[in-house]
């Protein structure tokens, strides 16, 4: 049985992780097929004043908002925005953070110190505050949200890759390949990187959860996505005036955020369990 298949079997037995996986799958499918699944796809820009603030019904599953737009449809499109923001933000953090971590970990010189101290500086500032500051300064928009998130998240990757690389540096097979004459760049990219991939993948999953939450916070505060974008945080911000009567207005976007973040965290945890001891060292 191949390692992948065995890993899948083990993974599917972990109920929490599997649930997380299903949630993420739903998110992706929703984002991809929002146009098809939404009963009122035009509600991303169209308004229906006559249908303002209607509670959940058969016609509007999750109710309508202050402009009469179908909340359910807007949530579905919001999933698309959420996913795009997070994927790009986490992707960018990865691209910045991982190479820096590899360099800092593999070499033991002034460069490593520099990189890690810069990372420390970023990590010492509460991330939400930094993100808000950046978003404010740069101007509220989705691209700036992505930028702000990338800048605050890359040090997490650097730190974890640094730690793993430092340990791995002394591994016998790294020494063996160096003894054969492999240069540092090749060693890092071809040997160290694959072996630190598991913590990177786990952290990416958790990072997705983090960026989704932070993006929503920024949207909520008005420094991120702007109305009429159907972003979840923005929707919650809009709903404030109408609470507690229009409870559905805030509850469903909030629930969506909660579920998705939970899903990524559970999935990440489950990944951590199966990735390292299983695939790497074989099955005892």
């Amino acid at each position: 049985m191949s390692g992948l298949r065995l890993a899948w079997i083990k993974f599917s037995r972990d109920r929490l992780a599997f649930t997380g996986f299903l949630i993420i799958l739903c998110l992706i499918l929703t984002a991809l097929f929002a146009g098809v699944l939404a009963p009122y796809p035009e509600d991303t820009f169209k308004i229906r004043p006559a249908e303002r603030l209607k509670p959940p019904s058969l016609k509007h599953f999750l109710g309508t908002d202050s402009m009469g737009r179908d909340i359910f449809s807007r949530l579905l499109f919001g999933a698309r925005i959420t996913l795009i923001i997070s994927i790009i933000a986490v992707g960018a953090s990865l691209l910045i953070g991982v190479p820096l971590g590899l360099i800092a970990g593999y070499f033991e010189n002034w460069l490593s110190e520099l990189i890690m101290r810069i990372a420390d500086v970023f990590l010492s500032i509460p991330q939400i505050i930094l993100a808000i500051f950046l978003a404010q300064t740069l101007g509220p928009s989705i691209p700036n949200v992505i930028l702000a998130l990338s800048i605050t998240y890359w040090p997490w990757f650097t730190r974890i890759v640094f730690a793993e690389t430092r340990v791995l540096k002394n591994a016998v097979f790294i020494e063996a390949t160096e003894a054969l004459g492999t240069g540092p760049l090749q060693t890092i990219v071809l040997h160290v990187l694959p072996n630190v991939s598991s913590p990177i993948i786990v952290r990416s999953s958790i990072g997705m959860g983090y960026t989704i939450l932070t993006a929503a916070v920024l949207g909520f505060l008005g420094v991120g996505a702007q109305p009429p974008t159907p972003e979840w945080g923005v929707t919650i911000a809009e709903s404030r005036q109408y609470l507690p009567e229009a409870w559905w207005y805030a509850t469903f976007p909030g629930l969506a955020i909660f579920l998705v973040v939970l899903g990524f965290n559970m999935f990440g945890d489950g990944l951590r369990d199966i990735l390292d001891p299983r695939i790497r060292r074989g099955f005892e």
Partner: protein, 326 residues
């Protein structure tokens, strides 16, 4: 030479143990049998996967998760340990009547507690005292002296990292002997040690055990060590016991083909190297009948269909083979 007349302390019969893993069911022990007399030092030898460690763990019923004892009996002082209640086993047998010297002295101690605390803990749990304070340290010092740890009084406060591998193994031996056990199971006790330290430890162990009528089940893959220390040897292969006899006879006049092949593959000064063709079989899909038959030069007929019974080929010397040599 009256080994078979020595009163039996431990008798393992028809022990079948399996492990359930993601890859399939590992048939680790296939009806293995073993007998240890009172005050006897019996060596359990074999290569990796032969089941010797599984045997030790089954006797104490400390198999890892996934391990199941399917069948068989372990008679100890007349009682079947496999049928005993877990609680009885814990209070009266484990760590008391049967003690274990584990394989790796470097990892057998808890690094954050002093050695004294750990030794006293064991005595406390075994009912020797109600609390650590109530334990008479002189008993421990006396034992440490017997395992040749110098100035024992000051040693109890020290932490495991302050002792070398050889010293830790001596402490392990002390802990195994303090409860005055009837049987000590020594699982590869010197494998992790240098050869000179090994010699010291072996000398120590044989000296201590001889005086007190303590039986030892000595598990090792090193035939030289087994030969030096054990009175009787049981040879195992792939979960089956193959030969059982007095050490001197077994090594000078082996009857089972596997034992012969094993002895011949030992390094010899002449420089001629002989190895056993083939590979150790998978225990998930082991061969039918005698598990050595695919590699055995004498295999024929029923070897591939039926497992041989124990046959006494000489006084006190048994082998499981349809065609024992000579």
């Amino acid at each position: 030479m009256n080994q078979n007349l020595k009163e039996a302390l431990l008798v393992v019969t028809k022990l079948i143990v399996q492990f359930h893993t993601d890859r399939g069911v590992v048939k680790a022990l296939d009806g293995a049998e073993l007998r240890v007399g009172k005050g006897e030092v019996v060596g359990l030898i074999g290569e990796s996967g032969c089941g010797k460690t599984t045997m030790a763990r089954s006797i104490l019923r400390v198999l890892p998760s996934g391990g199941r004892i399917i069948n068989g009996a372990v008679f100890f002082k007349g009682r079947d340990l496999l049928a005993m209640e877990e609680r009885d086993l814990n209070t009266s047998v484990r760590g008391k009547m049967i003690t274990l010297i584990p394989q790796d002295p470097f990892n057998s101690f808890n690094p954050v507690f002093s050695v004294g605390t750990q030794i006293k803990d064991i005595l406390k749990w075994k009912g020797e005292a109600k609390a650590n304070r109530g334990i008479d340290e002189t008993i421990i010092w006396d034992m440490l002296g017997q395992v040749q740890i110098p100035s024992p009084e000051g040693q109890l406060k020290k932490y495991p990292y302050q002792f070398s591998g050889g010293q830790r193994q001596r402490l392990m031996i002390a802990m195994a002997l303090l409860p005055s056990p009837d049987l000590v199971i020594a699982d590869e006790p010197t494998t992790a040690l240098d050869v000179t330290v090994e010699a010291q430890i072996l000398r120590l162990m044989t000296g201590l055990v001889r005086g007190r009528e303590i039986s030892v089940l000595f598990i090792t893959h090193d035939l030289g060590v087994a030969s030096e220390v054990c009175e009787r040897i049981v040879v195992m292969y792939a979960g089956q016991d193959m030969e059982d006899g007095p050490a001197e006879i077994l090594f000078s006049d082996p009857r089972h083909p596997y034992t012969i092949e094993l002895l011949e593959s030992l390094p010899n000064p002449e420089g001629k190297i002989r190895d056993i063709p083939g590979e150790v079989p998978s225990l998930i899909h082991p061969p039918e009948g005698c598990r050595f038959h695919p590699r055995c030069p004498s295999a024929r007929g029923s070897c591939s269909r039926q497992r041989p019974e124990r046959v006494e080929v000489a006084l006190g010397h048994w082998t499981r083979c349809f065609h024992p040599v000579r």
